[in-house]
Amino acid sequence: MNKPFDNRAWFLVLPVFLLVAFSAILPLMTVVNYSVQDTFGNNQFFWAGTDWYVQLLASERFHQALGRQLLFSAIILLIQIPLGVLIALCMPRKGWTVSLTLVLMALPLLIPWNVVGTIWQVFGRGDIGLLGYTLNRIGLDYNYVNNIGDAWVTIVVMDVWHWTSLVALLAYAGLRSIPDAYYQAAKIDGASRWSIFRLIQLPKMKHVLIIAVLLRFMDSFMIYTEPFVLTGGGPGNSTTFLSIDLVKLALGQFDLGPAAAMSIVYFLVILLLSWVFYTVMTRDENERQGGAS
């Protein structure tokens, strides 16, 4: 059976739509226009058709940057989502420690991206950095400037340090919304800790976890400032993610046409993956609705 909607409420979002039109849709249209042209500045453009797209899709440099970006986002999600949930489960629910914990958890989120990069750049240095110096003293040959593995580990740990608390706070909000009656019922039934997590807490956290996954995916997929400050994309190109490569192309080489084509493809990848994540994570709900209709 069909379920008609009343679409008049959409007029309420008209002001936001206009704002988004000016801040996002017009720039996006401009990028599309640039992606099919070449320019040497001074508002002079020359038709290039789909040349930049053909060139980009065959580019080894683009494939490698995209691969690195996908790998980075996968690692970040695999670490931050379970870790954030685990931290949320360990956070206190009553007493004065709640406020203290929330403030401490929010602290990394308040630090600007470039400052985070600078902090970890100093922290990881072998001569004066606490982390780098300590690791070298205990016999580990740690050098994020020259070693690809060390550079990756440092960037991943830096991002985990910066953003896991966001996942934890979202998961904590989800946990706090569960009425005590659920826990009491589980206790009466003699449910194990794992059963409580799997059958009560995880389903109740689902909606906030969808938001957490989408936010962390999009943010990690667009990461720029922290790795740029920390490694500058090196050693070699080993930490040159898509965004860093894009800035090099657009601002370093002033190749606005190819950079615009890359931006469009970049945007489409994010759009597709976000849609896939959202669809997969809300699939059960969709099936229930489909079954009910």
């Binding site: 059976m1 069909n2 379920k3 008609p4 909607f5 679409n7 017009l26 249209m29 401009t30 599309v32 226009n33 640039y34 099919v36 042209q37 320019t39 508002n43 453009f45 038709w47 058709g49 789909t50 797209y53 053909v54 899709l57 065959a58 493809v265 489409l268 759009l271 597709l272 849609w275 669809t279 699939r283 969709n286 099936e287 609705q289 489909g290 209709s293």
Partner: protein, 95 residues
């Protein structure tokens, strides 16, 4: 239109965005005239008409990219547009 020079409009891109805009207006009118609901199709997803349009447009973008990446500009990209139209019709009919 000197003030819009920075946007570097061409007739091709203007046509592209006009078509998108017309589709959105057309879909809005269609929805007003004949309201739809959600339904579950072959993708096993509960979709509205708007969802199906999104899936069609996103798919069309990837079909064109795949054409450019795998085949190039010869034969013409219009074939990718034709495949996209067939795909969109399939999505609206069965998805």
């Amino acid at each position: 239109m000197e003030s819009l020079a920075w946007m570097a409009w061409t007739w091709q891109t203007a046509t592209f965005f006009s078509v998108i805009l017309l589709i959105l207006i057309g879909m809005t009118i269609w929805e007003r005239v004949s309201p739809s609901g959600e339904r579950v199709g072959v993708l096993r997803l509960s979709t509205t008409r708007g969802d199906r349009l999104f899936i069609s447009l996103l798919g069309a973008a990837y079909i064109h990219l795949a054409w450019l990446g795998l085949i190039g500009t010869e034969p013409a990209l219009y074939w990718a547009t034709f495949i996209s139209l067939v795909y969109a019709l399939g999505v609206f009919r069965w998805a």
